[in-house]
Amino acid sequence: MQDYRHSRWITAALLAPAGVFFVFLLILPLVVVLVYSFGARAPAGGYEAAFTFDNYLNLPARGKAFFNTLTLAPLGTLLTAIAAFPVAYILALKTDPKWRVTLLVLIMAPFWTSQLLRYYAWIMLLGSKGIPSWLAYIGIADLRIINTPTAVLIGAVYGFLPLMVPPIYVSLEKLDKRLLEASADLGATPLRTFFQVTLPLALPGVATGSMLVFILLMGDYILPQYLGGGKVFFIGNALVDLFLQSRNWPYGAAVSVALVLIMFLTISLYMRFILSRTDKRRAALV
């Protein structure tokens, strides 16, 4: 029995850092946010103790921000996944293994420079002297991209592709290549093999990558601020505004709570959907 108690202590010690992190940096702040969300704005801004549902009742005033986030974040995630899949596929199945690591590192390379700097570059690329001016040469005149939802989506695909490729790559890489042969052997054309075997088995990777990108996009404010120019407004921007401009902390807290709840809901629904579509044991491993 001595040994058993001993191992329990070790388990507790190993869990302690994560536990402390979880309680102090996640649970407690969430409680604070929840408490604040029922408070009132102090006269000069900030928080004043109160108990009111006004902040929640006022949520429709940010309806457009919720709408933008809830349409553009999933759409951006989908487009990123569509763009990332062929990259991961070519890397995992069509590339000489000795080049794979190098190419993967190159895909991650943009992360070595500042995100803001890269968005600045896109501001110029998508501005009227950038891509639209080139398109004008082939007859597509007066195309305005910057400060539109399209620009935000382009930025999302560009910015989050490096996060989407590795999980898909991993699931494709560990995919048993004999399954592809088995499929061909049973008469499936390469295209059917892709949709019947490769894609379903890469789904856990797609799910992981999408989750990662979706969560980041849902909370993003820099991307919409820079490439949306204050016109494509996300919940993240509304929060920045409420905390860093209009100083309405309780309302900001209520918007945060709403965002957390929406995220929780969509992610659980999504996970449930993905789990129902993949072999449960495999999905659990990813």
Binding site: L179, E181, A182, D185, G187, D279, R282
Partner: protein, 338 residues
């Protein structure tokens, strides 16, 4: 002569500098159970993959049912394969695995037809009622049978089996050998099995093709190969044998069970060509037979297998005992030493 289902004509396959298959002229006959036997790297798996269409020959032609299929991809060949580690689709149920081939057909069979065929195929491999299960819920032997059902449901011209029993334990392997043989007789489909296990090849096949370093060394019935191997390599690979060096690069091969032993020379049977005396170095009791390792001054060391049934004549021996041994002239074969 029987009809040929798959034929290789001077097929060679190179991977870079390595020649995996050289000038292979294999012919598989309709309805037979043929095994390709050889150690790893002998080219047997590459040959199989060229039949399936996963690899294309560097030179030479492949024919299936008399039709040239060189260059035709796997999904358009009327053959099916049972993979070494089964390669069942983990995201599909057992029934969906088995029906996979039918669902690729065009026109696609009706749902009712598919269900009926799947049930039949699963019954055939004694897995009736397993259709709804997932692959990981099945044992190795059961997965093996699913793989068989998945391939056989398509009624292929040839069923290709790539070391199908290698992943099973010894007892299960024995059972599956019998089952495979029965299955082959029942369905009447040509089986082509690739293995490195001589016992497997000899016990199941109508014919065995021994390969070595990319080339076919000898093809024949198991008994032919055992009794009349064309060289030391085949004799060594098919069964066990004693080799005694002979003149000009040849060896004399004598199967251990064909050597007679006795306590004294005079007790040996009549008509033996060779007689020698020696000592028992080692003895292994195997139940139905006993294996002796004998050292003789003239011939060196050799192995003798004495059946239990003959013990009343020869007696039993202990390590260190003096012993006499000999064999009939027709039991010694002069073979090229590779």
């Amino acid at each position: 002569m029987k009809q040929v289902v798959i034929e290789f004509r001077k097929v060679s396959k190179r991977f870079g500098d390595i020649a995996a298959v050289i000038d292979n002229n294999l012919a598989v006959e309709q309805g037979e159970f043929l095994s390709i036997l050889g150690p790893s790297g002998c080219g047997k798996t590459t040959s199989l993959r060229m039949m399936a269409g996963f690899e294309q020959p560097t030179s030479g032609e492949v024919f299936i049912r008399g039709e040239k299929v060189t260059g035709v991809p796997a999904y358009r060949r009327p053959v099916n394969m049972v993979f070494q580690h089964y390669a069942l689709f983990p995201h599909l149920s057992i029934a969906d695995n088995v029906s996979y081939g039918l669902r690729q057909r065009s026109p696609r069979p009706s749902a009712g037809e598919i269900t009926k065929s799947v049930d039949e195929a699963l019954d055939m491999v004694r897995l009736g009622g397993f259709g709804k299960r997932r692959t990981y819920e099945l044992s190795g032997g059961q997965q093996q049978r699913v793989a068989l059902a998945r391939a056989l449901i398509n009624r292929p011209a040839v069923l290709l089996l790539d070391e199908p029993l290698a992943a099973l334990d010894r007892k299960l392997r024995r059972e599956m050998q019998v089952e495979l043989q029965n299955l082959q007789r029942t369905v009447g489909i040509t089986f082509l099995l690739v293995t490195h296990d001589q016992e497997e090849a000899l016990s199941m096949s109508d014919r065995v093709c021994v390969m070595r370093e990319g080339r076919v060394v000898q093809t024949g019935s198991p008994r032919d190969l055992y009794d009349t191997p064309i060289n030391r390599y085949v004799a060594e690979f098919v069964g066990k044998s004693n080799f005694f060096s002979a003149a000009s690069g040849n060896v004399t091969s004598v199967r251990p069970e064909l050597i007679d032993i006795a306590a004294r020379r005079k007790d040996l049977p009549q008509g033996l060509a060779i007689r020698t005396d020696g000592r028992v170095l080692n003895r292994i009791f195997l139940g139905e037979q006993t294996e002796y390792r004998i050292a003789s001054d003239e011939l060196g060391e050799f192995t003798v297998v004495a059946p239990r049934k003959a013990e009343h004549l020869s007696g039993t021996f202990n390590i260190g005992d003096s012993i006499s041994a000999g064999w009939r002239p027709e039991h010694a074969r002069l073979l090229p030493d590779n």
